[in-house]
């Protein structure tokens, strides 16, 4: 069996021929496209280590069959930085020590990027304590066994606020 699949991954057209309809998006990224940034922690949508953006929305890549995503646009952690210039969320994770072992980190960062977009689209601010609770809730699909949650929350809030301020300046 060979199934052609057309994806846009990090802005780049990637044509694949899958030999097997059971291949998840996560395994297609990791094993076929050798984009190993997205991690497999549970393979059943419980840990969030494989979080990527598909057509701009956060999903668990381990729960999506690749063949169901023909034509989709996928963003992974490999696509965030611009050369050596880190994405603001990536830089914030370093500055606020939002990780220890780093295994859940690609998923946390993609989840954060998606969450900040969701909050912006919904017109939610990140200006006060209630919004911090919103961030904590919004990041709770991503487990971190090391327990870096305080730094993760700080990093996401800082990145969101910086983006909001930059947006205001631009306007």
């Amino acid at each position: 069996m060979s199934i052609p699949l057309r994806l846009t991954v990090n802005g780049e057209r990637r044509d694949l021929v899958l030999e097997d309809p059971r291949v998840t998006l996560l395994d297609a990224l990791r094993e076929r496209l050798h984009l190993t940034g997205s991690k497999k922690g549970c393979d059943r949508g419980q840990c969030g280590a494989c979080t990527v953006l598909v057509d701009g929305r956060r999903i668990n890549a381990c729960l999506a069959l690749a063949v169901s995503l023909d034509g989709a646009s996928v963003e992974t952690v490999e696509g965030l930085a611009n050369g050596d210039a880190l994405h603001p969320v990536q830089a914030a994770f370093i500055a606020h020590d939002g990780f220890q072992c780093g295994f859940c980190t690609p998923g946390q960062i993609m989840s954060a990027v998606g969450l900040i977009r969701e909050m912006r689209e919904a017109g939610e601010s990140v200006g006060d304590a209630a919004d911090v609770e919103r961030v904590r809730e919004g990041m709770s699909g991503n487990l971190c066994r090391c327990g870096a949650y305080a730094g993760i929350t700080e990093a996401v809030v800082a990145a969101a606020r910086a983006e909001a301020q930059a947006g205001e300046k631009a306007a």
């Binding site: 922690g41 840990c47 066994r145 870096a148």
Partner: protein, 750 residues
């Protein structure tokens, strides 16, 4: 609620020095997905393996449909006891307490649920996974023994790694008889599983009798030794690469069966093989924290001084191997008492063998002891913090040795002040928040021994002012990449930006074990010694060279700083590394160093880190729902190499303590011995929204005795104290004492 705890705000300066809050050196790799974990290794010709595991807890496999699996497209081989490569050594042979028995397809017996019973190797992961399912094992099932009442308890020969099961002094019965107040309580803690986010993964490749293995390891040297024995090849033929561990927590301290099975599978098929444990595969062959039932009997006189402390632990090891959770150890060290008895008893059950899991013994024991101390304080009508101060141990209770350092009083004082403890009402159920939730405050004492293993390192300083340090150390998230660099940069007297660190490979000098909260002391000690050796040789060259401004200063008379050697008594006289080496006709100096515990110091002093944790919980009076709203920890652990990373370690530990108190519980069906929750959806660990506002106070502590760097470990202590503090806060909120952990709302209401 404050939005986030105060954090260390200093930027990531590139001036490397011990004590600076540098950000993680490997951070850019981890946030971009470029840090390669074991499962990210993709050699050409790679095959994928999947485990078939036992669905019974005791018995034997009587049939596997190998033909069905082999027929599946893409399946290359099915490895079973019939065709598994012969091993040079029985994997059940023990040659020390650190060698654990492994299930490597040597026979058909099943000794626990989820034991590997076959491996399917295929061109794709999908084919391997389906092949494993098609094996459809048949069994002869025996009734498993499960739980602490499975059999009559016995006295194990040793607990933990070879510690005596029974210790103490005085006469606890007499002490209890003399007491003005006494309590007796039984606390139960459940089996817990490490659940590092990275499942144990192994990519194995053979070249003749040489093995290359990419797999996470907290102990590379021991893992090489184990593999060399099993495969009958010299250790030098084995290369293990483990630059990044996706968490370990003890589960990657000894190589596990599935990691060895990957090597066997690669040998069987003659191609590289990747075997990544599925999450459910990790509940069985990778160890766990054993369940305990701890009975504590305490007595106190009219002033609240303890007259007796009796700490009895019942725990379980597997039917086939020994690891008995050393829960009573905390009672050796924490509170002064004239009469002390610490005993451990065991039973054997049909589970995988337990293992060290973040604060092994201390976590379980502290949860019980800190609750019991609270109950004793209440029986004495005393504030629980005051009670702890009244029973403060000036010397180590079990040994009578002085502490090498102990700033616990400062921890209590600074933590209490920050938390606002003085406003705490003595009686429970006195406080409510604006929403009508019951509010309670609790305290727990934290402690963890300052251990040290053995390590070696190599350091190099070059004429251009750059340096390199090489050590087979292991970073599972604790920050070794950064902390060891800081130690090396200071030792070599260069800016950290000029330093390269090479670590995480078994080909490097042994970095010892990343465990026991001892890695910074051990690997850091070796790095420090190697750097000192380099500087000593450089100083020898300079101070004996009449052309040098340092001539005649003597080795001890110079210090290394900013790429120069500087005369200690006259800092205007100095010379750069390049100038010294140029005249000597050298382009570099290489040195080696070793570190291990100092037996004389260990004999003279008790060495422990200490801390105090204060918890606030809120409990719904109708529903019993519990939320931790605030945690303040104050810890004294000697010299701090990097306060940013140390704070993160404390936070991580405190979250584990919260998890211990309120979340984690591996549930087995007692009839079958099978897991009811071997996945991350049903085995609960805290998510972001479960964690409270946290503060960690780094209390100053100088320790001239503990080791050359004066550091104690920080990775595990945060769990201790925290679980008890939360349990005590739940009592203070509700007046209900739950002695079976985790404290869930049904137990609170029941």
């Amino acid at each position: 609620m404050p939005e986030t705890a105060p954090r260390i705000r200093q930027g990531a300066g590139n001036v490397g020095s011990i004590g600076a809050p540098l950000t993680r050196r490997e951070g850019p790799l981890k946030v971009t997905g470029r840090a390669l974990f074991a499962a990210d290794t993709l050699p050409p010709g790679l095959l994928h393996a999947a485990l078939c595991t036992a669905r019974i807890a005791r018995g034997r496999v009587t049939g596997l449909d190998v033909a069905a699996a082999e027929r599946h497209p893409g399946v290359v081989a099915v490895m079973t006891p019939d065709n598994a490569p012969t091993l040079a050594k029985d994997p059940d042979a023990k040659d020390g307490p650190f060698t654990f028995r492994l299930d490597l397809l040597q026979n058909a017996s099943v000794r626990y649920a989820n034991q590997p019973i076959a491996v399917v190797i295929a061109e794709t992961l999908e084919a391997a996974t389906e092949g494993a399912r098609l094996l459809a094992p048949r069994y002869e099932t025996e009734t498993p023994r499960i739980g602490l009442d499975a059999e009559a308890p016995f006295t194990p020969p040793g607990i933990g790694i070879g510690q005596p099961p029974d210790e103490g002094h005085g006469d606890v019965e007499a002490g209890l008889a003399d007491a003005a107040a006494r309590i007796e309580a039984v606390y139960e803690t459940p089996a817990q599983y490490h659940n590092a986010m990275e499942p144990h993964a192994a990519v194995a490749e053979w070249d003749g009798d040489r093995l290359t293995l990419h797999t996470p390891s907290q102990g590379l040297t021991a893992a090489v030794g184990r593999l060399a024995g099993l495969f009958g090849i010299p250790p030098k033929n084995i290369r293990i690469e483990s630059p990044y561990l996706g968490g370990g927590f003890g589960s990657k301290g000894a190589i596990s069966g599935p990691q060895v099975l990957a090597c066997m599978a690669a040998r069987l098929v003659g191609r590289p093989v990747k075997l990544v444990a599925r999450r459910e595969n990790m509940y069985g062959p990778m160890g766990h924290r054993a369940e305990t039932r701890q009975t504590l009997r305490l007595g106190a006189d009219a002033d609240g001084k303890l007259t007796a402390l009796d700490h009895h632990t019942l725990t379980a090891s597997s039917r086939f191997d020994d690891f008995f959770e050393p829960a009573g150890g905390v009672s050796h060290t924490l509170y002064a008492t004239p009469n002390l008895s610490v005993r451990h008893r065991g039973v054997r059950v049909d589970t995988g063998t337990p293992l060290f899991m973040r604060a092994p013994g201390e976590a379980t024991g502290s949860a019980a002891l800190e609750s019991a101390i609270d109950e004793m304080a209440i029986a004495c009508g005393m504030d629980p913090l005051e009670f702890r101060l009244v029973n403060y141990a000036e010397v180590e209770p079990i040994s009578g040795r002085p502490f090498s350092s102990k700033a616990l009083r400062a921890c209590y004082a600074q933590g209490a002040a920050r938390f606002g403890w003085e406003k705490r009402p003595l009686q429970p159920r006195q406080m409510r928040d604006a929403d009508g939730l019951l509010v309670g405050w609790g305290v727990g004492t934290a402690t963890f021994p300052a251990l040290m293993f053995e390590a070696e390192a190599r350091a190099e300083l070059r004429a251009d002012g750059t340096g390199t340090v090489v050590i087979g150390a292991q970073d599972m998230g604790q920050g070794a990449w950064t902390a060891l660099a800081q130690i090396a940069a200071d030792g070599l007297g260069i800016d950290i930006a000029q330093l390269t660190v090479e670590m995480g490979s078994s080909t490097q000098p042994s970095g010892g074990i990343a465990g026991g909260s001892a890695h910074t002391a051990t690997a850091g000690g070796a790095v420090h010694a190697a750097a000192q050796a380099v500087i000593a040789e450089l100083a020898q060259i300079a101070t004996t060279d009449s052309a040098s401004p340092l001539y005649g200063a003597g080795n001890a008379g110079v210090i290394a700083r900013a790429g120069r050697l500087i005369r200690r008594d006259d800092e205007s006289r100095s010379e750069s590394v390049g100038e010294i080496l140029a005249r000597a006709g050298r382009d570099r100096i290489t040195g080696t160093g070793k570190a291990s515990a100092d037996p004389a110091a260990q004999k003279s002093y008790a060495m422990h880190a200490h801390g105090a944790v204060f918890a606030e919980v809120k409990v719904d009076p109708d529903l019993g729902q519990i939320r931790v709203s605030r945690l303040v920890g104050a810890f004294a652990a000697g010299r701090v190499i990097n306060p940013r990373l140390v704070q993160s370690q404390y936070f991580g530990g405190m979250i584990w303590g919260l998890s211990f108190a309120l979340h984690e519980h591996a549930a087995l069906d007692p009839r079958t011995g099978r897991f009811l929750n071997d996945n991350l959806g049903e085995y609960h660990v805290p998510v972001n929204a479960d964690t409270p506002a946290m503060e960690a106070i780094l209390v100053h502590e100088d320790d001239p005795h503990v080791n050359a760097l004066g550091v104690k470990g920080v990775g595990e202590i945060g769990i201790t104290g925290t679980a008890g503090a939360i349990a005590n806060a739940v009592w203070h909120a509700t007046g209900v004492r739950v002695r079976e952990l985790p404290i869930t709302l049904d137990r609170l209401l029941g």
